[in-house]
Amino acid sequence: MNRKLIVDIAKALLLARWKQTLVAAVGVTFSITMFITLLGFMNGLNDMLDGLILNRTPHVRLYNEVKPNPIQPVQLNQNLGHAFIQNIKPNGNGQNIDNTVAILHALKNDKRVLGVSPKVTAQVFYNVGNIDINGVINGVEVEAEARLFHFQEYVSDGNYMDLKNVPNSIILGKGAADKMQANIGDVIQVTTPQGERQALKVVGLFQSGLADLDKVQSYASLATTQKLMGKSANYITDINVKLFDILQAPALSKEYKHIFETDAEDIQTANAQFETGSDVRSIISYAVGITLLIVAGFGIYNILNMMIYEKMDSIAILKATGFSGNDVKRIFTTIALSIGFFGGLFGLLFGFLTSTAVDQIPFNTAALPNIKTFPVNYDPKFYIIGITFSLITTYLAGLLPAQKASKIDPVDIIRGK
C-alpha cells in the first residue's frame, strides 16, 4: 500500500511538471541512443576487422620450419680427435609434415577441435607472355576451407566449389588476375621452381581485402597443387586447426608440437595486436556513452533540485501528516528512477533504430568485397548495459536532491508562511 502511494505521489509530481520531466528524460534518451549506436557500430567494425584476419587465421598451425638438424654429424661420434665437417645444409623432405594421415586422423578425433584443413603451399611463377610473375598457390581442401575459414566469402567472382569440381582449376588473386588480364574461363600457364609447366583453368577470382596479398596468392585444390609439385597425396606443408575455444590455442599448440613433432604456432602469438585494437575501440565507446549519461545525470539533478524548491510546501505537509523522511526520499528517488527507466527505454528503442539506419548506409570498399553497408553489432549485452547504466546514473543523480528533500524541516516551511 505504502509503495503504491509513494509511486502515486511521484507520478503526480512528475506529471505536474511534465515539460521539465520530458527534458530530463530526453537527455537520458539521447545519451542511451548514442551509447547503443556507438557500441553497436564500433563492435560491428571490430567484428569485421577481427574477421578480416581472425576468421582466416587458423587457431593452431602445424608446419615444418626449414632449419638445420639440431644434432649435427660432428656430435655423433665423440671419439674422433678432430672433425672437419663443412656446409651441412637442411635436407630431407623440407617443409613436408611427416605422417600426415595419422596426424589428421588424431586431430579429427580430438574433442577440442572444431575442424582441420590441410594445406600445401607451392611457390610458382605465373607466365605472362615472356615475363614470369612470382606467385604462391595454396592447395586447399575446398570444403574444409570454406567451413572453417570462410573461403567462399572472399571469392568475389565465380563459384568456389568449381575449384573442387573442375580438374586443374585455379582461383586467382584479383591483383594477379589483373596483371595477367585473365578472366573466368581463361587458361593460364604456371611454372614451378622445379621447371614443371602446367596449364590451369581460371574458375574464380579471390579478394582477401589485402591488395598486396591478392597480387601473389592464388588457390587450387589440394590434389592439383600436389600434382603441380610432382608430390604424392601425402605431401602436406601446413595443417590448419580451428578450435572450439580460441583461448585454448596456446596450450594446445604446445601439446601438438610435442606429440606430432612439428612446429606449431597459435593465433594469439601470431596476431597479438588485434585484441589490443578491439579493446581500445570498446573503451572509447564506453567512455563516450558514460560521459553523455553523466551530463544527463546533472540535468536530472538540476530538475529534481528545482522541483524540491517548488514543492517545499507539499513536502512539508506530507511530513506533517505522517510521511517520514525516508518516505519523502523514496518519492524523489522514484521520480529520478522513472526518468531513468523511461528515458533509457526510449533510448534503447531509438538506439536500435539508429543502428538499423547505420546498417543501411552503403559502405563499398575494394578491400572488402563482401561488405556492402556499415557493419553493426546488435548484441543484447549492450542493451542490458545501457539500461543498467541509465538506472544507476539517474539513481545517483536523484540521491542528493532526495536526501535534501528528506531533511526538510516542516516547521521551518510552515512557520515561514
Partner: protein, 225 residues
Amino acid sequence: MDEIILEAKLINKSFHDPITIPVLKDVSFSINKGDFVSVIGKSGCGKSTLLYILSTMDTDYTGELFIDKVCMTGLKEKQLALVRNEKIGFVFQFHYLLNEFSVLRNVMLPGIKLAKFSMQEIEHRAMEKLRILGIHEQALKMPNQLSGGQKQRVAIARALINDPHIIMGDEPTGNLDKKNSEVVFEIFSQLANEFNQTLLIVTHDNEFAERTHRIIEMEDGRIIR
C-alpha cells in the same frame, strides 16, 4: 471527561542563533479528551513554538511530552511520523493542499498512508468527513478551483480522516475573512460538542478564543492563565 490526551511537563526551549534566547520556560499543562482549548498571547510569546513542540515536529526541546499517555520525547523520526499520521490532525493558517490531487484524494492521503482501512473504505470515510464539513459536492474538483474558505474546510477534513486524538491548529482562521472564520469556528465547536473531538488551537483572535471551552494565555514563554 478527565482522560488526559496530551500532557506537557516542564518544557523548555531556546533559540541559539545568534545568541541564546529562551523561548519557553518550564511550560507544563495537560489537555483532557473532548477539550476545546485555545492558546492566545502576543506575537513572539512562544505560542506557535509550543504548538510545534506539542505536534512532535519540533524535537529540539527539554522536558517531557506525552500524547495518549505515551512519551514522545526521544522517539525516532520515523516513529514520530507514525504518531502524527495516526493521532494528530493539523490545520494551518495556509491550507497546504496538493494541487496535483483532487480534493477527495487530498483528504484520503493520510488515510492511505496509515493503511488501516481498505481503499474503498478510506474513500467512503473521506466523503463522510467532507459531508460533515458541507463540501462533499466539491470532492472531485482540484484544490485550485475552490475558494479560500472551502480549501480550509478541505484541510480540516484531511485532519479528521484518521480520527485523531487531537486536532492542532496554528491560526486556522488567520487567512480567512469574517464570514469564513465564523464557518470554521462553527465546524470546530460542532466537532468538539457533537463528536467529542479534542482541539488545540493557537490564535490571536481573542473573540475566537473567548468562545472556546478553555483559554491558555501565554506571555514571555510562560503560561499565565
